[in-house]
Amino acid sequence: MKRRSLLATAGAALASAPLSRAFAATVVGVTATEIKIGNIMPYSGPASAYGAIGRGHVAFFKRVNEQGGIAGRKINLITLDDGYAPPKTVEQARRLVEQDQVAFLFNPLGTPNNSAIQKYMNQKKVPHIFLSTGADKWGDPEHFPWTMGWQPSYRTEAQIYAKYIMKNAPNAKVAVLYQNDDFGKDYLIGLKDGFGAHYSKYVLKEFSFEVTDATIDSQAVSMQATGADTIVTAATPKFAAQMIRKVYDMSWKPLHFLTNVSASVGAVITPAGVEKAVGIITSAYAKDPTDSTWDKDAGMNEWRAFMKQYLPEADVTDGGYVFSYGACTTLVQVLKQCGDDFSRENIMKQAASLKNLVIPTLLPGVTINTSATNYHPIRQMQLSKWNGKTWELFGELIEGTGA
């Protein structure tokens, strides 16, 4: 009885309430003086290391605004914390879209986090662009026309290693170390794509580890015991550094492929020991701020000047700031291309119309290209080998196949 009357009251209340069925105007979050952009980052929680990217964004748009903004409009970047928890990402995305009424979401971080909001963003038809995650699924314009990635996908990178191995070491015996999460598993998928039918011929065994593990020593020992002569390491910096050191300490000299996520000279190679990493191969698409190769590079000097002026306290060895600079520069180009039409449709259209865009922090020759059918902005990478001092680029730029 009580419940029924409760529902009745609720129903009556609802009928009289003004139903706010907002018909989303195509231009949202942009006025004559302002462009409102949303961003979600893990400032707290287990992935707070990546908060640097969000702080980089804030500083970048401060500079944009000081230099007069874009099309006479100031950028208002609202960046929120999700603690790397997908439920919180959903909440923050809804806040940004429904309450703050941002024009679009730029560079939210994390694969599970973006997976949680992808459907919502596409249903709402709000651009969800240049995501901070290397999963391959962000380049799927057919099913998710409002979502676009930015960096080359982990899968593409793994395919490149597989192809290199098949071409240059056809008799290789491969052991794989991967992090047991979306990042590591994407490498396994990429290797499977790359080796194709020959996967089981090349790969002896895969070894996983958890981010909560203290060390990967046990895995390294098992890998050596398989008799492998080639290893692929898909691990975040801490475990990658441990792996490099352990392999060296065991006097094991396999051909070692290392994910570019953990190729930072400052955060991985130096802690592990520069001499211990000699011969390791990675593939890069951006310049490493801690690699002396780029000490006099014009693009990196531009970035350093920016850091000095806008983030003087920040840690310049943190690759997150370089990543941020590249993504923000891409976004600025999109907004410039919009002309005076900042409708969500046009923003998405321009994001998908980037032609040979050169970004100062990307490797020479790597350009950004998108189209209505290509939602993988960066597809090129170049292999490089650690020579004890710097990453030495070799071979041609390799174009990934995408999905």
Partner: protein, 315 residues
């Protein structure tokens, strides 16, 4: 006449929280309130176990995960309607809770706390296990659809979901209130405070403890189901240690052994992180931690003790 101390207060409160947000809150706010209801149920589940029965659990996130996955898998693989998944998730979680309650009998106090903590750590790894990949979607998780309002009710999905969660929540809260006020609740507390005396009075401690575990798991599992429906997404890494700690924080902030405290604790864990984020982008975790410490400092008995203090004063 003091409103808060009135015996009709819970009913007035319930009607108010059902009606007012529907009238005034935006869809986004309704979503947040739905999450408050979800967290309140989870915190209540933990409170029954830890607050009332004294079995400290730092791993209730595991039950939340199981509930969420049961719902997500049933909806995704077998197209079972969302509401029909909830009884399944309740039964499965109760069963798992009962089984975990058995070894827990042997483990006192801190040993239990740390073992359940281990359960929280192991949960994501188990959810990712490759043999279950076909069902769980592995590391990628499962995306599910948001339910529409039934019977042609003039409600949008957010409004309907809020009412649905609130209804489930209200039933569970009423159930819990009746339970802890009655004989069972007295037994639960007796076991917590004076186990030997309780046993001497003929209370079957083992039975009560394992059943409380099952009950707690059931509540938390239902919360997990509702949470999955609300978020429309489940993935293993969302159910690790931070989630279990969040529930624990909700319980201690709200107040141990308090039904109303669960609601206040849920409000805390839903909204304080947002406030911490507003205060500092550099170290929101530290702001949140300090707010938590300050809360414990000022109200060691939780927010519920504040109400008890208010109640004690003559109206």
């Amino acid at each position: 006449m003091n409103l808060i101390t009135s015996r009709y207060f819970p009913w007035v409160f319930l009607v108010a929280v059902a009606v007012l947000p529907l009238m005034f809150a935006s869809d986004y706010k309704l979503f947040q309130f739905t999450m408050v209801v979800v967290y309140a149920i989870a915190v209540l589940g933990l409170n029954l176990l830890t607050g009332y029965n004294g079995q400290v659990s730092l791993g209730n996130g595991a039950f939340y995960a199981i509930g969420a996955y049961v719902t997500a898998i049933m909806m995704d693989k077998w197209d079972i309607p969302y509401w029909a998944t909830i009884p399944f998730s309740a039964v499965i979680c109760a069963g798992v809770g009962f089984l975990i309650g058995l070894p827990a009998l042997r483990l006192g106090g801190m040993y239990l706390a740390l073992t359940t903590f281990a359960l929280a750590v192991a949960t994501p790894q188990l959810l990712k296990y490759k043999l279950f990949d076909d069902y769980t979607g592995g590391v990628q998780g499962i995306v599910i659809n948001k339910p529409d309002a039934p019977f042609g009710l003039p409600l949008n999905p957010d409004q309907w979901l809020y009412l649905f969660a609130l209804t489930v929540g209200a039933i569970l809260f009423i159930l819990a209130t009746n339970l802890v006020r009655g004989r069972i609740g007295r037994a639960m507390r007796a076991i917590r405070d004076q186990p030997l005396a309780a046993e001497a009075m003929g209370i079957d401690i083992a039975m009560f403890k394992t059943r409380t575990f099952a009950l707690s798991a059931m509540f938390t599992g239902i919360a997990g189901s509702l949470g999955a429906i609300t978020i429309q997404f489940v993935a293993p890494d969302a159910f690790g240690v931070p989630l279990s700690l969040t529930f624990f924080v909700g319980m201690v902030v709200g107040g141990g052994a308090s039904i109303g405290g669960a609601i206040m604790g849920a409000l805390f864990i839903q909204f304080i992180p947002n406030i911490a984020d507003e205060i500092s982008k550099a170290a929101p975790g530290a702001v949140y931690g300090l707010i938590l410490i300050a809360f414990m400092f000022l109200l060691p008995g939780g927010l519920a003790s504040l109400i008890r203090i208010l109640k004690r004063k003559p109206a």
